[in-house]
Symmetry: C2
Subunit: 276 residues, 2 copies
């Protein structure tokens, strides 16, 4: 079912590349073009039939009726002036950035058919080589409409994510950033801090617990600083809540207070059942 | 290859039951008997052919030449006087407790052929229903000999774990408790605190990252308080190191310091590669 004529994906990495595969395999567009920083990414994207044509420069996106911004957050924000000169007024624009407040406030001023997307389907792995058209299956994709969002853009982008297999949830950019500061940004901060706290010589004594708890600590040092910094206020608030909970455990251990520890752990066990 | 005549497993749960299966399937003993608090556990252990006979009371262990203590830490410590009256002087004794300092200091006074074990192969799942003879395969099992440990006990228990498929590492009880306070106890405290910090209504917005990071937060509220409390000093020290690392990230976010964040995340990514 064709939704678009020409789709341009800027950043053919894990998310951009996977989305390109979804669009190609489902015939959602007549043509998919890709822009990347490295020729090797484009070559692989072509080989995987994720894109029809690729280029290292933005000129190739001319005439697109959907542009997907799938680069790191900094780049989404910094390249928008160059995009504005190429993109037609009617073009639908979305991004897949992990924070939404700043990005949405910039992009919705620039593009009249903009709607923000955030697929909760990444991984600590990166790059087109890890792209698969099924990575969005049974995941959640948050769309962040505002009062400026046009219905057509929302509907088409929603159809795109539903075709990818995602469950679509609508949140305001502010609600998104608050929610993700807890469910994602805090979890990453905790994982980074945990692995950095363990003496290297002891890591050979890891069990599956530590392995899982620190999996996302290998998330990209190129992507994540901007995520924290574009959601700094919420993230620091989430960290403060975490510190309170950590403190409760510390105090209970210090006081040899088995009852409080049991209560805290029961609460944790119960809450964890809400996750899957 | 027979190592023992009669093995008694006190606590036929996940670890005790899995070890019973290893012993039975490899013919390491003429007979395996089990003690549990609930008849349903014994019935299942019998059905799974993990044990030859089971009982709710300790009398059944009489005549054993190997006793494996696989109950929660509190019970290991509190039941030892009753064991002393039943166990023969020559019997080899081991336990599978997650902390070693206190347990070893008690048990090596009571039993001349005692050696502590800690298989790093548990899971957030519990009970004989989750027991499998391959759970120790390619895992690490730490044995904690002291200057009182007899060579025969060490050698036989080492053979037992090697047969189970574990890689055996020897550490003093003190070195064990220090190491595990980082690689296991801290990771659990962090996971408990993390899940307790996330508003329940937001948990539906979890991605795979949060799911993995909090998997061990569903670990048993019956087992874990005693683990923390019998290793309180080391655990609090590990938490303090974690707080320092968390603070570095907080300060970098607060100062909008992308360079420091990138450095911290690079360190994390590099360290994480040492885990598997």
């Amino acid at each position: 079912m064709r939704l678009f004529n020409k789709v341009a994906i800027i950043g053919t990495g894990l998310i951009g590349g996977s989305l390109a595969l979804v669009i190609k395999k489902n015939g959602l567009a007549r043509e998919v073009v890709g822009v990347a920083r490295h020729k090797v990414s484009l070559d692989l994207a072509l080989k995987m039939k994720a894109i029809d044509r690729g280029s290292l420069s933005l000129g190739i996106i001319k005439g697109a009726d959907l542009i997907i911004l799938a680069t790191p957050i900094d780049l989404i924000i910094s390249q928008r002036n160059r995009l504005l000169k190429i993109v037609s007024n009617d073009c639908i624009v979305t991004d897949v950035g992990s924070t939404k407040g700043k990005i949405v406030s910039f992009l919705e001023k620039d593009f009249k058919n903009y709607i923000g997307s955030h697929p909760l389907a990444g991984s600590e792995k990166r790059g087109i080589k890890n792209a698969r058209r099924d990575i969005f299956k049974e995941s959640v994709c948050i769309l962040t409409p505002t009062k400026r969002t046009r219905k057509l853009a929302l509907e088409k982008i929603k159809r795109l994510w539903l075709t990818a297999g995602a469950r679509v949830i609508l949140l305001s950019p502010e609600a998104h950033d608050n929610a993700l500061s807890f469910t994602s940004h805090l979890a990453h901060i905790v994982a980074f801090s945990l692995i950095n706290s363990i003496p290297s010589s002891l890591l050979k004594l890891s069990s599956g617990g530590l392995r899982d708890t620190t999996r996302i600590a290998s998330s990209s040092p190129e992507l994540w600083p901007s995520i924290f910094l574009t959601n700094a206020k919420n993230t620091l608030k989430a960290v403060a809540v975490f510190e309170k909970n950590l403190n409760k455990i510390k105090i209970a251990i210090r006081n040899n207070d088995k009852k409080s520890l049991t209560d805290i752990l029961r609460q944790a066990q119960k809450k964890r059942t809400l996750i899957e």
